[in-house]
């Protein structure tokens, strides 16, 4: 038997469900049918228990040694009862003495159109509840890692704190009230889309050996898509970066030194307003985001250029205007021909001196904006929103994940947070509120099989107690 670390986690033949967000796992979960253990009498009870335990242990902490789990297992299953304050105020409990000593029975109406089945408390689904106390599994449940193994890795590598202290034991059992924090960069790496590798067909050239064939083909598929997208982005980038290398800045050293302050002021004001005003609308198209990214990229050198003596205000504003127009903030199609030279009047120092009046005029104008002051309210807000989004989720090539960050593929069918955790995603922290419990109709332990399978597994572990 190979060691746990060497065994492959996801397989297509004789599939096992795992605590992981892999698409193989999703596929296995999708095609999983009821195992129907114990339905026929050709299996002994031992065989049924063995099979059920195997199915469930493959999911619940497969990286944990069986001996460790056996020590963790507890036959005491926690549950809660909902107490209605109104009922408790009306009755003192003596009403339960009626009948045979457990309250009066309510007659069931068997003639009703739909007779609802009586709801059980699925105690048996709590079999693996002690596992949920483990730090690594709690991190996976809080959606800070894409698999329990990855969560374990984070803990071992010191990326996790419990109550503010680094905890490097994945087997640490959380106590009710414990707060655990995971390094946000690790979380973004675990839950984000992978970074594209240079956009080349590098991985395609290496045909996988038979061992990693399962990985290679879909990866190749994605790589190809990624490469196409990357290529498209690169060409877009290249075409946009042409105006940045403006030769005119060196061509006109003899030009009279113009007062650049108004232009700089206009640019800075725009950025500051963007920071101050909160985003309210949500309908920003992807192309608008792309445009904004390139805008911000080019706005920075422009700002520094405005400080240089060689540049004229007209040049800077010209560039700014064309950039703003490219943004196409209001979503309306812009007239490219109308982007002709226009900024000479706007570059005069008095233009930024009265920005409010300029905006009031701009709100009534028609056609493409002539300068930054010409943007109407909606356009300005849209720009500010885009700038804010860019600030929150920047494109950063130093990060080990795809930037701007986006969730990894096939994540949403795995997305749930059990009630015994309270998670604040913004700080990548969570509080373990209490141990998971069973109540009427539901159990809090996330387990892929129903009570009958869990019961057999429970019985398997009872045997050695």
């Amino acid at each position: 038997m190979p060691r746990a670390a060497q065994r492959r986690l996801h397989v297509l033949r004789r599939p096992k469900l795992r605590q992981s967000w892999s698409k193989y796992n999703l596929y296995n979960l999708w095609r999983q049918r009821d195992p129907k253990i114990g339905n026929a009498d050709h299996e002994t009870f031992f065989q049924q228990k063995w099979k059920a335990k195997g199915l469930l242990r493959a999911y619940h902490g497969e990286h944990i040694k069986e001996r460790d789990w056996e020590r963790m297992f507890s036959r005491r299953l926690l549950s809660v009862a909902n107490m209605n304050p109104r009922y408790m105020a009306e009755n003192d409990g003596s009403e339960m003495a009626a009948g045979r000593g457990s309250g009066k029975d309510t007659e069931r109406n068997w003639d009703a159109d739909v007779v609802k089945p009586s709801v059980i408390t699925p105690y048996m689904n709590m079999t693996f509840a002690p596992m949920e106390r483990r730090l690594d599994i709690a991190i996976f449940r809080a959606m800070f890692a894409s698999s329990a193994r990855q969560a374990r890795h984070f803990v071992v590598h010191g990326k996790v704190k419990v109550n503010g202290k680094v905890m490097n034991f994945p087997a640490y059992k959380l106590n009710p009230g414990d707060m655990f924090q995971v390094d946000p960069d690790a979380v973004l790496f675990a839950t984000g889309a992978p970074k594209k590798k240079g956009g080349s067909n590098a991985r395609l050239g290496i045909t996988g050996s038979q061992k990693n064939n399962a990985e290679a083909e879909p990866a190749a598929e994605e790589e190809a898509e990624g490469a196409e997208a990357e290529g498209a982005e690169a060409t877009a980038e290249a075409s946009e970066e042409v105006p940045e290398q403006d030769p005119e800045t060196t061509d006109k050293p003899e030009a009279p030194k113009a007062d650049m302050k108004p232009t700089r002021f206009a640019i800075r004001k725009l950025t500051e307003q963007a920071k101050s005003i909160l985003a309210k609308d949500k309908d920003v198209s992807a192309s608008q985001k792309q445009n904004l990214r390139s805008f911000l990229k080019r706005a920075k050198p422009l700002l520094s250029k405005a400080g240089r003596s060689a540049a004229t205000p007209a040049d800077v504003l010209d560039e700014l205007n064309s950039m703003v127009k490219e943004l196409n903030l209001s979503g309306a199609p812009t007239d490219a021909a109308a982007a002709a030279a226009n900024a000479a009047p706007a570059a005069t120092p008095e233009a930024p001196a009265s920005p409010s009046s300029g905006q009031a005029v701009a709100s009534t104008r028609r056609g493409p904006p002539r300068s930054i002051e010409d943007l109407n309210e909606d356009e300005l807000k849209a720009l500010q929103r885009l700038i804010k989004e860019e600030e929150e989720n920047p494109a950063d090539p130093t990060k080990p994940y795809h930037t701007p960050w986006k969730p990894r593929d096939y994540m949403s069918p795995f997305a749930f947070i059990p009630r015994y955790l309270e998670v604040n995603q913004k700080v990548c922290s969570a509080v373990y509120l209490r141990h998971p419990v069973a109540r009427v109709g539901s159990a809090e332990v996330p387990t892929p099989f129903g009570p009958s399978t869990n019961q057999l597994a429970f019985n398997w572990y009872l045997r050695r107690r």
């Binding site: 999708w30 913004k426 159990a443």
Partner: protein, 333 residues
């Protein structure tokens, strides 16, 4: 069959390789085990019916799950999807007893934090008003404090992650000033192990055998259910209402009682901390802070082996200093 020359890997484009992945020749330079070194026959890519079915699934079914759904959660649906099954919140199709339950959204967390930290309302009152579990209210405030601390320190929040994850989960919003549907049951009683046994307890038929008596029957020290629930004050409020007290007055009494109970709990905690402080002598050195406590080495428990006393426990080996013993902490204060 004559030996064939392997095709050049770089010649096949990415899409062609994907499309004809089952027939395309493998062009591995390193020869896998079992293959003769002189053979120039390319190995065929291993492709099974299983893989083919999987790739078929990724093309047809999985495209629905690949990117997050803009309308909210999208969980697996086995078999033929029906309108009813589409909005079912069951991440494991075979487990009918596990549901993905709503989490508080960002505004709701902010509202709870504002009520507790800004307006100074008691946790119990907030919990009862909004229908959020008492421990969750405390946790939300604690986490929100961390968030505010990060903001004040200029540390970057994982906002895009938060937005994406909350978009995939069923979320609950809370509004100020209106009656909100509760997020979860707030007055849940822990089923005590002592109450899970069956008792034969004869009493007279005329006796009013209340919850209090039942608790005493299970264990002499056990409190009745009315005192063990998280919100005993709510039961009192309902009793007041049954006694025809005006709702406003009952509410005020509830709020006062909740505050009082929290104040008492805080006092108890403080007293405990003070007692701990007084019992410890601290000596500060440049490197360590030594803390000394009085202990009684005669204290060994009933059988001389009590685990939480310092006295010699006969027959209990001390493994603490042994090499290779991993001592995973049981709590982090």
């Amino acid at each position: 069959m004559p030996p064939r020359i392997p095709t050049n890997p770089s010649a096949s484009s990415a899409s062609a390789l994907v499309r004809n992945s089952f027939a395309s020749p493998c062009t591995s330079q390193s020869l896998p085990g079992g293959r003769a070194g002189f053979s120039t026959t390319p190995i065929r890519e291993r492709s099974t019916n299983l893989r083919r079915a999987f790739l078929e699934w990724t093309r047809k079914v999985a495209s629905h799950y690949r990117r997050p759904n803009s309308e909210g959660p999208s969980y697996l649906i086995n078999g033929r999807p029906s309108p009813a099954s589409r909005n079912r919140l069951r991440p494991f199709p075979l487990n009918r007893n596990f549901q993905s339950e709503s989490v508080l959204n960002d505004q709701a967390r902010e509202l709870i934090w504002g009520k507790v930290m800004r307006k100074g309302e008691s946790l119990k009152a907030v919990s009862a008003e909004l229908g959020v579990d008492l421990t969750r209210v405390a946790a939300v405030v604690r986490l929100k404090e961390v968030e505010k601390d990060w903001v004040s320190k200029g540390k970057k929040l994982a906002t895009p992650y938060s937005r994406a994850v909350l978009g995939m989960l069923p979320t609950k919003s809370l509004r100020e000033g209106v009656e909100n549907q509760p997020l979860e049951p707030i007055n849940e009683l822990h089923i005590h192990a002592a109450t899970q046994k069956q008792l034969f307890w004869p009493t007279s038929e005329s006796r009013q055998f209340t919850r209090e008596d039942a608790a005493k029957a299970f264990h002499p020290k056990m409190l009745s259910a009315d005192e063990r629930v998280p919100h005993p004050e709510l039961i009192q409020m309902e009793k007041d209402l049954l006694r025809n007290m005006s709702p406003n007055e009952a509410r005020t009494r509830f709020i006062n009682a909740a505050e009082e109970s929290e104040r008492k709990a805080a006092q108890r905690q403080m007293k405990k901390a003070m007692a701990e402080e007084q019992a410890t002598t601290k000596i500060n050195t440049p490197r360590f802070e030594f803390r000394f406590r009085e202990v009684d080495s005669e204290l060994v428990g009933k059988n001389g082996r009590a685990p939480n006393v310092v006295g010699w426990k006969y027959g209990m080996p001390h493994y603490d200093r042994k090499k290779g013993m991993v001592k995973i902490p049981t709590s982090v204060p």
